[in-house]
């Protein structure tokens, strides 16, 4: 199957991008005996799942900072624990409030009920019921993310039976759950949560799950669905669990890279691809920025689809409809990242001291109006002056990322729209002001934060695009909204990793099942290529 039919190819597959998905695809192909090379533009592997010592002694998970959906079958197939994958669960979801109150949600249901009771006894009781219902739907969705997306227009019997199977599972859901499913697909996160809960304090941090990585607000329709994605998170079979990767998220990529190398894949860093090579209408390799050509039977891109087709390939090789669809594909990044090195722990006014509530994710999301106001500013081309923050202090659970007694604070920030009113290229001029807004916001909840900062790294959507190839700074290679998922990702009819260009395949987060440190697109793309016998 892999025998070159007369032509001299350097490789069976050349993979563009050493992100975790590109590496996963390489590992699966190498495991199947294919000759594979991965080309990474930067000096370090991982793409957006990368650990870097930006400031001496402190390791930042520069972009992606938590792990929840990394597919268990990939961990097993690629022996990732043997190659150094080590996940540490987060203990808590903490919400400090400006009025001195706070809410912490724990794995311990009784403790969580007590916490929510401060704000609403009804919500405290409903919380567990909600979790059970949404959890059931999430189980259904999980089956969907572990297989290539079926194409509803296809007459391929295998795809039809997969669709039928999905339908059967859907039919197996009770009427209540079906209704819930439809609501999730259509409603806004806030409207959906309003049907269950009364407390704004609780709904704030719950609703943000619906907007992460989208240019939508918590009151925008379609955001409810993304809540489900967050209920799918699992570690060790316990759902809704989020974790850190020891040594930062780059260690997930490194474990996959070591696995790929053990299977015989070749991995090159500082090997930026300039163009995809075409011959007789077929992709046949790549040319590097230094002019080197690498020939392969297939070219597999872990890069975001628009970058892959419009920049690395070129519109001239595509038909107009496909190009138009790509241009309509919603990237519009809406978030940034601020990483801090600090000489002491932040001390929250609402829950002072060093305690287990810090050992999880900390949300700055004090109410629905706060979140919607943050979105309002973004709609008209500004970053939020008081943004939603998702803060994690990984050094509390993984002391290897900071010197003893010192800490790393990772802040995911939304909204930071790529399209600021001055134009995205003006982001570098606004970078520090954006960083200040983030630090000012957090410091309102933990005075003394500013004095503790030893180093600050600010990443705007522009930086995410320029440095990490995330077009328009979109962290998921395209919004995870219902219209851009499943058989619609990235373009309707082309959701099974194959593209209209012969010999060119996709394996990144812009393909099904989407973004996050999941490995799904990489693993599934490789399996699909092997199944189709293209290499």
């Amino acid at each position: 199957m892999s025998a070159a039919n007369g032509k001299a190819n350097d490789y069976d597959a050349v993979i563009i991008g050493g992100g975790h998905n590109g590496l996963a695809a390489a590992a699966y192909l190498a495991k199947a005996g294919r000759k594979v090379v991965v080309l990474e533009r930067r000096h370090v592997l991982g793409g957006a799942a990368v650990s870097e010592e930006i400031y001496p002694g402190f390791t930042y998970s520069v972009c992606s900072y938590v792990v929840s959906l990394l597919r268990p079958w990939i961990i097993r197939d690629l022996n990732l624990t043997k190659h150094g994958l080590h996940l540490i669960p987060l203990e808590c979801s903490f919400l400090p409030l400006p009025d001195g109150r706070s809410l912490a949600r724990w794995p311990d249901a009784n403790r969580t009920r007590d916490e929510i009771s401060q704000f609403s006894v009804a919500d405290a009781e409903m919380y567990g019921v909600f979790g059970m219902h949404v959890g059931k739907l999430a189980r259904f969705a999980k089956n969907v993310i572990d297989k290539p997306a079926p194409d509803p227009t296809s007459f391929d019997p295998a795809q039809l039976s997969q669709l039928l199977n999905m339908g059967k599972q859907l039919r197996g859901l009770s009427d209540d759950l079906l209704a819930l499913q439809y609501k999730l697909m259509t409603m806004s996160a806030v409207d959906f949560l309003d049907e269950w809960f009364e407390s704004d304090v609780l709904k704030g941090p719950m609703s943000v799950s619906g907007i992460i990585g989208t240019m939508l607000g918590v009151r925008s329709p379609g955001t409810a669905y993304v809540l489900l994605h967050h209920y799918m998170g699992e570690i060790d079979g316990s759902s809704r669990a989020w974790g850190l990767s020891k040594g930062g998220t780059g260690q997930v990529s490194m474990a996959i890279a070591r696995s790929a190398e053990a299977f015989g894949a070749e991995i090159r860093t500082e090997a930026p691809v300039a163009k995809i090579l075409m011959k007789k209408g077929q992709a046949c390799g790549v040319v590097l920025e230094n002019g080197d050509e690498i020939k392969a039977k297939v070219v597999v891109s872990g890069c975001e689809p628009r970058l892959t087709f419009l920049k690395l390939l070129g519109e001239e090789h595509l038909d107009d409809d496909f190009t138009a669809s790509l241009k309509r594909y919603k990237l519009r990044g809406s978030s940034g990242k601020v990483n801090l090195a600090v000489d002491r722990l932040p001390n929250f006014t609402s829950r002072p001291g060093d305690g287990p509530w810090l050992r999880g994710d900390i949300a700055i999301a004090p109410g629905i109006d706060y979140l919607e106001r943050a979105y309002d500013e973004a709609k008209y081309g500004d970053f939020s002056s008081r943004p939603y923050l998702n803060v994690v202090i990984p050094s509390l659970m993984d002391p290897s990322v900071a010197p003893p007694g010192k800490h790393v604070i990772s802040c995911f920030v939304q909204y930071a729209p790529y399209h600021i009113k001055e134009g995205p290229e003006f982001w570098p001029q606004r970078r520090e002001a954006f960083g200040d807004a983030v630090v000012d916001t957090l410091a309102e909840y933990c005075p003394g934060l500013k004095e503790s900062i030893l180093h600050r790294q600010v990443l705007t959507p522009w930086d995410l695009e320029q440095e990490f190839g995330l077009t328009e700074g979109n962290i998921f290679h395209g919004e995870l909204t219902p219209d851009q998922l499943l058989f619609q990702r990235p373009v309707s009819g082309w959701a099974r990793y194959k593209t209209p260009v012969k010999g060119l395949w996709l394996c990144g987060s812009g393909a099904h099942p989407g973004g996050g440190i999941m490995g799904g697109p990489g693993g599934l793309a490789a399996k699909e290529m092997l199944k189709r016998g293209v290499i």
């Binding site: 268990p72 961990i75 097993r76 990732l80 624990t81 994958l85 080590h86 996940l87 540490i88 669960p89 203990e91 724990w106 794995p107 311990d108 403790r111 959890g135 189980r139 060790d236 079979g237 316990s238 759902s239 020891k246 287990p356 050992r359 050094s395 509390l396 659970m397 993984d398 002391p399 290897s400 003893p404 007694g405």
Partner: protein
């Protein structure tokens, strides 16, 4: 009614879960918080501090101490150099295991033995006529285990010795917080770690100094539940769980030789007579009927079993000790039993220790283990894997010594 250990004033104040169990007549914390997850991850990423005072301890002193220990133990203790520790087993006259523990040579004529049960009478019986004094020091010594990748850095800050130079399975007298103590580089977690042996009156000041030094390294107090998960990953057996001491085995079938419980490596046969030697020689020649193995359970099968009831897979947060039958690959012929197991959060595998018929014990053998889902007993494929499952380099590495040759 269990007694408090010398550390109880500290451990009690920290034990928010109120979950204790009895260990050799003492109160021992199961976990300090509602669950043991944080403590487990502290062992693997930072450090855990565990009160191991309930261990039985014996002091052998005198010119014949080494010879007597060599007679008791499966290991030839006469070869143990001063400042070294070894792990050994001891047997009855039929070569059946009684217990296992460490033997440390503190000086030429002073050894310390740890055990999980009282053995003073037994030891003294075997020392008859020799110039040795054997004393039960269990109550004279409080003990702590400091385990995890940060254990060395923490200790280094508080003791008067360069911990970077202390090798695996060594023991040394040191000073900590102005108090004398013994520190051995040993443990039951399979990680970098140390055990500290001190007078009971020094227990609290030493605990306090360690807790203070441990703070910036995110050290956590750790209980027995977290220990149980980590010892299974390290492949360590537990007397009374994974095998029975021959002394209290009510039937012959419950007795095991060291070869049958994975301690064959501790048996040094060809030397001066020792307890069980003849029987062990015979067994070595004939082969052992049983073998201890580590098993890795097939996760997809477990998922399918749960899915057949429309259930998500459930993982108990603690290790289990209720033995279940192990079957040959046919799923019907009983060939042994799995005696303890756990989900390994680190290896992402369900693992177990089992005793099986020797012909089924080869690494790679695919056996079946009983597995109960929704009240129904089923089986899942359990593959024999190498033991230990988790064996990090840091466990043995000694950064301050050029060639860290390992013994023990």
């Amino acid at each position: 009614m269990p007694k408090p250990t010398p550390f109880h004033p500290r451990t009690q104040a920290l034990c928010h879960s109120y979950q204790w169990k009895e260990w050799a007549g003492y109160y021992a914390a199961c976990n300090y918080d509602a669950h043991s997850e944080r403590e487990y991850f502290a062992i693997r990423n930072a450090a855990g501090l565990l009160d191991v005072s309930p261990l039985y301890k014996y002091e052998f002193t005198g010119p014949d101490a080494a010879a007597v220990l060599a007679r008791i133990m499966t290991r030839d203790i006469t070869k143990l150099a001063v400042g070294r520790v070894t792990y050994s087993c001891w047997c009855d006259e039929d070569g059946k295991a009684l217990d296992d523990g460490t033997v440390a040579r503190l000086s030429k004529e002073h050894f310390r033995v740890t055990a999980s049960e009282p053995w003073l009478l037994w030891f003294r019986r075997l020392a008859r006529g020799a110039d040795v004094t054997i004393r039960d020091s269990s109550r004279e010594l409080a003990a702590l285990a400091l385990q995890g990748p940060r254990a060395r850095a923490i200790l280094d800050e508080v003791v008067d010795f360069d911990m970077n130079r202390m090798r695996f399975f060594r023991v040394r007298r040191m000073k900590l917080a102005g108090r004398d103590l013994w520190v051995s580089r040993t443990g039951y977690t399979g990680d970098l770690g140390y055990e500290l042996w001190m007078a009971p009156e020094d227990a609290l000041p030493i605990w306090d100094a360690l807790v203070e030094a441990g703070k910036p390294h995110r050290m956590e107090p750790m209980g027995l539940d977290a220990l149980d998960v980590s010892r299974l990953e390290a492949g360590f057996i537990l007397q009374g769980v994974d095998y029975f001491s021959a002394r209290f085995a009510v039937i012959e079938a419950r007795k095991s030789s060291p070869y049958e419980i994975g301690l064959g490596g501790t048996v040094e046969l060809d030397r001066a007579p020792f307890m069980g030697q003849a029987a062990l020689k015979a067994e070595r020649a004939a082969g052992s009927p049983w073998a201890l193995v580590a098993l890795s359970l097939d996760w997809e099968e477990i998922e399918r079993l749960y899915a057949s009831y429309d259930l998500p897979p459930h993982l108990a947060p603690v290790a289990w000790r209720s033995a279940v039958p192990v079957y040959a690959s046919d799923g019907r012929t009983v060939i042994g039993q799995a005696t303890s197991g756990t989900w390994s959060p680190l290896l992402k595998q369900s693992i177990a220790l089992a005793t099986v018929r020797t012909r089924h014990a080869a690494v790679g053998a695919r056996l079946k283990m009983e597995y109960t889902v929704e009240y129904a007993r089923q089986t899942v494929t359990a593959t024999v894997v190498d033991r230990p499952l988790f064996d990090p380099e840091r466990k043995r590495a000694t950064p301050g010594v050029k060639s860290a040759k390992v013994t023990g």
